[in-house]
Amino acid sequence: MTSLYDEVQTPTDGVPTRRVTMTVNGEKRTVDVEPRLLLAHLLRQGMQLTGTHVGCDTTSCGACTVLFDGRPVKSCTMLAVQADGHDVETVEGMSSASELHPVQEGFKQEHGLQCGYCTPGMMLTSKALLERNPDPSEDDIRWALSGNLCRCTGYQNIVKSVLWAAEKMRAERGEDA
């Protein structure tokens, strides 16, 4: 018997599946999934996008955050079938082969990560914030990130990382830093 879980496109005999189509990191993907499969598991196991981490599986920690039509959602508490027809961005979609997103650079420059487990979720939430609010205050950042837990950094450097990225993005757009 083939495992539905490991090879999403080859469903297990007798288990009902649903065909879903979604855009993942800009690429159109069509997969057959068991209706109960979580989006986080589809991304991690089905599509080998293991940058999406699972910390708590109860919508509390934000390690599994992805951008869903541009908005941060916790993919551990969302079914893969709910993504049908939607756009999903994971950490793997943030950078091109040659260029990092300013948020990624900011996290490295300001030491915004230690073990790296919370980092993909933190960066995606930060990216969404900066798209909404290009000039956030420290409080804006802390509030926006309050659904993402980090056990290592104490957040201070994460805040700095986001400020670093905001400044770089404004400079890139030719605005005053």
Binding site: C61, A63, L113, P120, M123, S146, L149, T153, Y155
Partner: protein, 792 residues
Amino acid sequence: MALDELKIGGMGASRRRVEDNRFIRGKGKYVDDVVLPAMLHMEILRSPVAHARIKSIDTSAAWEVPGVRLVLTGETMAARNLAWMPTLSYDTQAVIATDKVRFQGQEVAAVVADDPYIAKDACSKIVVEYEQLPAIVNPDQAKDSSAPLIRDDKVNQDSNKIFDWEIGDKEATEKAFADADVVSSLELHYPRSHPSPLEPCGSIADFDRATGKLTVYMTTQAPHIIRAAVAMVAELPEHQIRIISPDLGGGFGNKVPVYPGYVISILASILTERPVKWIEDKSGNLISTGFGRDVYLKGEMALRKDGKILGMRMHTTSDHGAFFADAQPTKFKIGLMHSTFACYDVPAAYLTSDGYYTNKAPGGVAYRCSFRVTEAMFFQERMIHAAANDLGMDQAEFRRVNLVKDDMFPYRTAFGFLTDSGQYAKCLDLGLEAIGYSSFKAEQEEARKRGKLLGIGISTMTEPLGAGNSREYDIIGIKMFDSAELRVHMTGKAILRTGAKTQGQGHETTWAQIVAHELGIPADDIVVEEGDTDTAPFGMGTYASRSTPVAGAAVAMVARKIRAKARKIAAHLLEVSEEDIEWELGRFYVRGNEERGVTIQDCALAAYSNVPDGMEPGLENNAYYDPPNLTWPFAAYICKVEVDPETGVWDVLKFVAVDDCGVRINPMVVEGQIMGGLTEAYAMANMQYITFDEEGNCIGANYIDYLLPTAWETPGFELHEVVTPCPHHPIGAKGIGECATVGGPAAFVNAVMSAIEHTGVRNVDMPLMPNRVYDAVRNGQDVSGMPPVRVD
């Protein structure tokens, strides 16, 4: 000309971390990211009750679920002599329960299936019949003569007591109390907490029948200890065991012990002859793996009127859960609790301790802590705070009188530790100035007029980091040293491996900086690897802030061995005798003729192409480092809070941290460690605790009940530094990873107490949740013990 050390990423450079290059791209490789061909998935069924006899287990329905490959129970394990395993404290622990379950969340069965969803489905089909027994949830209940015996599996165990232990000079201490003008006393509870790294524990066991080799990917901070433990438990030859600890999503002590899930996955792989992956969920992690703290402490201090401390005595009662599985040095039953008061000149001291079994999860691990020093230093600083108040002395002044002075080193503490360096008063004064201590009283007055209560709390402490030396420190008999192996390639690039294991501390970055400092090879030319027992030299792993003190020292020492050989090669290349060779960073030259020299890279090439007659070729070596003493960093943490008496809510207005961890290899990384540690200190003081109801149900089994601070609540921290090099460490460094978690909580609590103690309150136990602070202020009374069940 010598190289610019900062430019090559040497000591003192805030070098950006190399590991970040993969983490920021989502390309870290954590255990759950590893996929092996034909891999199966394992799920554990856990006990819903805290104390019960297992009457029967029926697994037949689980076997029938399509996709199930194996169902394991205590019976399966027992048939292979694996139902029980030894703990790191010379006790035994059930791998899968056979007779009784002894805590909620204990392993009762396991299912191996084609995917984790199927394994979970099948677990829910296992029927277990329990005969419930009364649950023991604290030491007071455990002591009761009518209490049920938790460990009826052990011969000669006729009560729930695990140990009695004592240290110090009882007589001298009694004399100090007889001479005292004032005796101050304090009693408190350090609540149970969980290190809770974001990534839970897990393993992938892969047994290859053809070669007899067992490979296990595992979330472990100490892969070599695990290899030894697996060899003993599973009776497999050690050379056929390979433990790989890939990227770890945090550890904080939680990933030191051997957990049943690891052992079950190993047996499952042996039986199915396929790789078996087990990844626990967050609840499994919180309810069954190594907790921290859970100690009741009380003590008294003998004081002279002028503020001099004459002596102290102390008693601790600790709750270890159902199995004594503390990960700590063998000799010390309650860890390094006796490091308490090490920064003060206390002439006489005496400590007694007892420990108990309860129906709670086992494993009092060193949660960002060197074996109970967190409890020791918290008690110390709360006691100091209370004593200063009892004497009517200023908090800073009382500390100044009693802190060990700079000219008293080396200083032997009453419990026998040897502290060797520090500038305690300087750190304190720097912190007081930064927080604005001198104007505080006026501010406090002014705030009271607004109906707000201001408080300031000080915590000063030194702690013992970096066990060994190996004379005193071992874990299950294995001596606590560490190691490094360095291979310099022909082109002057290098690979370094150590027996430590980074979990976010940044070893891949900082170890290369030590090599750069010693050899002048740019840090970017050095790759660092850890965590694979087939390639890394034997080491004790990373916990208790021991990496820099021990493995970091080994890195410096191996680099020096390489340099010594390179010097001989340089003499050969320069055609002078070795005595005529001088070293500057990255280069040897002829004394008196600086122009004539060869670089370390020239020597590396020659090591493989042109060695002097009689010399072994190559430029590789290893070093084992057994530290002569612990390292003793010092910290002064000072916190200013505002308490709203109407709600009990308290806000941190300012927090100043002055840390002296000796020479800093990478200041950016050090500061990251301090801020992370302070956040955990804040969490302990404020919200982070695990409690149990009367039936032994764990309240704190997920992140909804177990509160961790987010970016929103966490205050900002202002960091300062003082540098007193460690006299015995090759690069003068001291441990730092846990200082803030150890010393921080008392600063927060002392601050809140300072704000509210005019109402007559002497102590509020952690967590200082608003309802507890509110009650204390309103009633002018202490609030002690654990909140029974969360009410907020």
